[in-house]
């Protein structure tokens, strides 16, 4: 386990920029992370946090989210999101056809799809008072920075 870092913020959408900066700073220390993959990882964390802030915590600024990030000796990046709101079933969500969404002017429902397409592993650990969304991204195939 290398360079573990943790950030805790209030459930305020204004903090999404702080969260992205935190993730990007960690990625800057990993030499094999390419620009597109780096942006994808930042995006997936942003989407997970936005979903939690809006749908799980209803933008209640008294509540908090914690994001933990580290990479291991196998060049896997681990991101854990600690959330006290009821767990969202990230696995079973299926996005409608994108053409239908555009035709029907539907704005939502793409964030979870992005997380599914970007992250290599997703697990949810449920505890009585909180849950942990665990994301893993394999970085070994990316070297075009």
């Amino acid at each position: 386990m290398n360079n573990m870092a943790k950030l805790t913020v209030n459930c305020d959408l204004k903090n999404l920029g702080v969260i992205r900066e935190f993730v990007q700073e960690h990625l800057n220390d990993i030499p094999l992370t390419c620009d597109i993959t780096s942006n994808q990882i930042v995006l997936a964390v942003d989407e997970a946090c936005a979903n939690s802030i809006i749908h799980g915590n209803h933008c209640d600024k008294r509540k908090e989210l914690s994001i933990e990030i580290y990479h291991d000796d196998y060049n896997d990046l681990h991101i854990n999101l600690y959330d006290s709101s009821p767990p969202f079933d990230i696995f079973s969500y299926q996005m409608k056809d994108i053409k239908e969404k555009v035709k029907n002017a539907e704005k939502g429902g793409m964030g979870i799809c992005l997380i599914q397409r970007i992250m290599d592993e997703i697990t949810i650990e449920k505890f009585p008072d909180f849950c942990v969304y665990k994301f893993v991204k394999h970085l070994s195939n990316c070297n075009n920075k």
């Binding site: 999404l16 994108i98 002017a105 539907e106």
Partner: protein, 112 residues
Amino acid sequence: MKVELLDSENFTTVFLIGEIDAYSSINIQQTLQNLLDNGKKNIHINCEQLEYISSAGLGALMSFVEEIENSNGTMVFSGLKPKVFNVFQLLGLDQIMKIVDNQTEAITFFQN
């Protein structure tokens, strides 16, 4: 995040500057709604200075595509950085949206 507008003869350019997320995407929505309310139906989204966009920002943009096309207008994107274009690709939006390489191509598109 900043939004700037430039009116041309038969289209309006919307310059997206900075980062667009779930917090700032409301700015795009209000801007595009105002343009449509004022009869602007040809819209060029200039992304040369767009560093980041999340699904909320894309959702705000794509929610106007159908309305614009129904009024015989077009929304054209230009100047996407590779990392921003990749987000379009992840969702399949690169197959649906009209995307050109740069501002010159966008201007040519609307002039023709």
